[in-house]
Amino acid sequence: MTEEVMSLANSPVLWIIALFIIGMVIFQAIMFYKIAKEAAPAAGLNEQEVKRAARTGFISSIGPSFGIAIVIISLLALLGSPITLMRIGIVGSAATETAAAQIGANAFGVELGGDGFNMQAFTTMVWTMCLGGMGWLLFTLFFTKSLGKTESKVRKKNPKVMAVVSLAAMLGAFGYLLTEQMVKGLTYSGAAVISLVIMVLIMKLADKKDISWLREWSLGISMVCGMVGGSLLTALM
């Protein structure tokens, strides 16, 4: 990136908008935590279970968050800090956003960060990322309500259907996501299998001895074991 583009990419107005967007994400998370806590008694959760669910959310998200943080470092040089912050803070994943940035730069007829990547090219890139990411936001804005109505209709008619659909959707999604990772190679398969097995063992132990803190840590522990296992396999091979 030329100096001119870099200083535009890090200009104060961009910082302000990016921080506003991040502020909204934080505000939304706090708001939803609050209203979910209010609804907890109606859903049959006592105070202790509310704390337990929140703590589990925190423990389980530390690993993935650092995984995301490592990937965004490479984006900082490409996009500048404010754009990275606003794009990764909402909707996008690092891979999607890198591709989107490339598409935007190409639409202007240049390569991302290459020769001729001037202020206009940067603006084209930002338009592409912002409009492209908007699709999810607009769909969620307009259609979550009707999805919710359909869900409550189904639930009223036959609560068991909701239970089956919810379980099967989760299994299906992760069955596919896991396959996609496992076909990448033996080390990836190893990491997946290790973390799966450790998870099953932890859940069995937690159920048998009724250790609730172990359930809270289960995702964190199995993830670390899978990651370490994958690294060890790489070193061995």
Binding site: A18, L141, A173, I198, M199
Partner: protein
């Protein structure tokens, strides 16, 4: 006749009333979720449009509408179909509030869903129940908060934050995705190993099938729902026969 009517009205009223009482908490939760979810999404949409508008028309770096449209069309061709497919695919798991949070903060499969399901398991909630919905939202909202704070720290602290993590540990993050996905599947396979195995086999078959790659995850989800529904129904039918 008249008496019957009165009776009907009375029971009708009674059942409506008790239903309202039982659902008040959850109904209030849903309407509040729609309000705050839509408001935050709308504000973020406005803000994300204002940024390129500022570059184009205040800074004066407008590239012309041609390249912008070209970029959007390129993006839409690349993954535009996911705008519709992802929210629908994940809705049965995320629910109303979970959808608003997950699609604003992103990182659905690698952060939001795992944290939601881990929270549900930690309190022993049955999938699809109201308890699962609320505990999932508690888990997701804290996960979104944690992730946002870590991202903010990384962007502001720059590469420095990452240098705090030793190189050997950094390389193990190559395996963060298979480790997360394996653990999540394990969480469910623990109670229903057959279904877990089935989902993995379907995923494998779909992966190597000629289904367009962006539709593969939806295809797997639909097939898994169909198959598990069929097995559950058969199980129920058998139980009914046995009871008789």
């Amino acid at each position: 006749m008249a008496l019957e009517n009165v009776n009907n009205v009375a029971t009708g009223k009674l059942s409506v009333k008790s239903r309202v009482n039982a659902l008040t908490g959850m109904e209030a939760f849903h309407s509040k979720s729609h309000f705050w979810g839509r408001l935050t999404l709308l504000l973020v949409i406005i803000a994300s449009i204002s940024l390129p508008m500022y570059l184009s028309f205040v800074v004066g770096a407008h590239p012309g509408w041609g390249p912008i449209l070209g970029g959007l069309v390129g993006y839409a061709a690349f993954i535009g179909v996911l705008w519709f497919i992802e929210p629908i695919t994940y809705f049965p798991v995320l629910g109303v509030a979970g959808t608003y949070i997950a699609f604003l903060s992103g990182n659905i499969a690698n952060l939001c869903l795992p944290s939601s399901s881990a929270a549900q398991k930690a309190v022993g909630a049955e999938p699809g129940s109201e308890k699962a919905e609320i505990s999932g939202v508690l888990g997701i909202s804290i996960a979104s908060l944690t992730n946002t704070v870590v991202i903010l720290a990384t962007v502001i602290g720059g590469a420095y934050v990452i240098t705090l993590i030793p190189a050997s540990i950094q390389s193990s993050f190559d395996f963060v995705l298979p480790a997360i996905f394996g653990a999540v599947l394990g969480q469910f396979a623990f109670k229903t190993p057959t279904y877990g195995g089935m989902a993995l086999v379907i995923g494998l078959l779909v992966f190597f099938s000629p289904v367009p790659s962006l539709l593969k995850i939806l295809t797997t989800v639909i097939l898994t729902i169909g198959l598990i529904y069929y097995f559950e129904k058969r199980k129920d039918d058998r139980q009914r026969v046995n009871e008789q």
